[in-house]
């Protein structure tokens, strides 16, 4: 037995314990488990390997109260007011209240529901009993459970919009199943007011045989908001999934992506842009597990840190012994634009099969003087020249993204962030 001295809880831990203790829904058991974990060991610190670069215990300042009513000034209206990214069928949540999108108006071929069912359904995706999974399982109050029916190709994206405001907590849990041969694009959009909000969002996705999906996470939270996000994915054979992550906000952000590649000829691409604002901490942690032969995975992240922010990328690729002919490539490139900027990249390969191609590369650089001088010598002022170089660096991520309209919309979001923060 491990002897442990009882720990002194931080303010955030105490608030979390209090919130978990009040849960009296279908999530009651999960909440009790999460509570016990935090009570005993606290939130993870840098001594926990998975959280080495994101010391949650020290970084999480507080856990605000969940709202008991729709907040007045920053609620459904502000969700409606979000600059549209692209047209699509939208289900919107203001804190945990479903405020936009009638279920009756769902496009043909999409079915599902919104509510407590989301807390107990994962479409069979095993939920890891890790920090984000446990906290969210205990605290989530609602979410969507959706299925794209077999053989259906949705013409427009499904948008899961989410905003929170007024120093509140908002925890959502979504599950989406893509039936055999289904094709669809889903977009998670996360916004918040600039006050200190907390959100956790866990999404569980299953792609059945031959399904093809794009999953976008557009995170543009206010600068004081904390976000713990997790995407758990299971891929069957012949599936094709592109995950695109844009982090362009938040004070403390951790986005996890866990993919189990369980079917042959599955093709996975994870692309991401992390724009790390002043004083913020943005962490993307991915784990890919290849369990069967002949699958392909590519990861490409481009990160820009203009001020005193800190970015983290952890990319783990596990190739199980039967997963011969796995092709997994991972690249993480960072531009640091100031001396105070910081980025840690930790690629990790665990390979038990012998006939695989796996590679990873991480670079950290600042803007090249030669390039800057060349542009300036042509009459482009320094600020514009820098912006041109930063945009070029980031936008390579979208180079062969099929949906050019969506790519263009995300590039616009990136450019407006860079205009303000770059």
């Amino acid at each position: 037995m491990n002897m442990q001295t009882p720990i002194t809880h931080t303010a955030a831990e105490e608030a979390l314990i209090a919130a978990l203790g009040k849960v009296d829904s279908v999530a009651k058991e999960a909440a009790a488990r999460a509570l016990a974990g935090i009570e005993k060991s606290g939130l993870p610190t840098r001594r926990v390997e998975a959280w080495h670069y994101t010391d949650l215990r020290n970084l999480l300042r507080d856990y605000p109260k969940p709202p008991r009513a729709i907040q007045s000034e920053f609620s459904s209206e502000s969700l409606v007011d979000l600059p549209p990214l692209v047209e699509g069928y939208t289900l919107g949540f203001s804190n945990t209240f479903h405020v936009i999108g009638h279920l009756a108006g769902m496009p043909e071929g999409l079915s599902g529901t919104v509510g407590e069912e989301a807390l107990t359904t994962t479409h069979g995706v095993p939920v890891e009993a890790d920090t984000i999974g446990l906290i969210n399982a205990g605290l989530a109050e609602t979410g969507v459970v959706l299925a794209v029916q077999a053989g259906v190709k949705l013409a427009e994206p499904v948008i899961l919009a989410h905003t929170c405001a007024d120093e509140t907590a908002s925890n959502l849990r979504h599950s989406v199943r893509f039936g055999e041969g289904a094709q669809a694009t889903f977009i998670e959009r996360h916004h918040s007011s600039i006050t200190g909000n907390f959100q956790s969002v866990v999404c569980n996705l299953v792609l059945e045989k031959g399904a093809k999906a794009v999953w976008v996470i557009d995170q543009e939270l206010g600068v004081e908001t904390t976000r713990l996000g997790q995407l758990n994915v299971e891929l069957a054979e012949d599936t094709d999934l592109t995950i695109l992550i844009l982090n362009a906000g938040g004070r403390l952000v951790r986005q996890e992506v866990h993919v189990a590649v369980n079917g042959e000829n599955a093709n996975l691409a994870i692309k991401g842009v992390n724009l790390v604002g002043n004083d913020s901490h943005v962490d993307v942690t991915t784990t890919l597990t290849h369990n069967v032969p002949n699958t392909v995975a590519t990861e490409l992240f481009r990160n820009v840190v203009p001020g005193s922010g800190k970015g983290v990328f952890q990319g783990q690729i596990r190739v199980a012994q039967p997963a011969q002919k796995t092709d997994a490539q991972m690249a993480c490139n960072t531009l640091l634009l100031s001396d105070e900027a910081d980025f840690s990249a930790k690629p990790e390969l665990e390979i038990f099969a012998d006939d695989v191609v796996c590679a990873h590369g991480a670079t950290v650089a600042d803007i090249e003087d030669e390039q800057l001088f060349y542009l300036r010598a042509r009459g482009i002022p320094e600020r514009d020249a820098r912006a041109l170089l930063v945009k070029a660096f980031v936008e390579e991520v979208f180079e062969d993204f099929e949906d050019t309209e969506l790519a263009g919309a995300l590039v616009d979001r990136i450019e407006s962030w860079l205009d303000i923060n770059g």
Partner: protein, 251 residues
Amino acid sequence: MIEIRNLHVKIADTDTMILNGVDLTVKAGEVAAIMGPNGSGKSTLSYVMAGKEDYEVTEGDILLNGESILEMEPDERAAAGLFLAFQYPVEIPGVPTMNFLKAAMNSQRKARGQDEFTTPEFIKKVKDAAGRLGISMDMLKRSLNTGFSGGEKKRAEILQMSLLEPKFCVMDETDSGLDIDALKVVSDGVNALRSPERAFLVITHYQRLLEHIVPDSVHVLYKGRIIQSGGKELALQLEEQGYADIIAKAA
């Protein structure tokens, strides 16, 4: 047009002197050539004119139309009409050449208080100029200089020079890496730009380029100093006899 007075230059973060008192005047309408062995400071001179920060002027001045440019930023010098065709044009992945051209042309116009070009105006200008230089529009969709062959890079420099319509053009070894046909195309491009209002400083190793772009004056730079000046026949003499004689005489 341009007046270089007693220019002394060192590398900014060391005490190594590269230019040791260069004096050179190029009048409007004139084409001046600078020749000299490797390492004599030709590229340094061109970079200092363009405003590169790696170098520090310790003495002397550079005047463009009577006004010192030493305190001006590189982009301000460009907007004032100075253009440097680089010996080694820089590759910029991710910036399509067309986007770059538009940014450069409109930045300069904005700095001069002129209206920016509309997209159709801009595209027409680029198409015309590219056509004359044998540059395909496909090439201009690619990232700036990225993966361009040596010849393509030099043509792209001349394209930029044609589009930006500078008053004073410095060309640093534009002939290196060009085959005879490309040399002809590039020289024709430059000759088309010759006018009474424009001046050129052509840096080269070889007489070959000067057969196509015939200079009004030729200057020999050696160890950071102009050691001899003359007419176009000086280039011929150097071609035949090499630098040894002139260097020996200057010493």
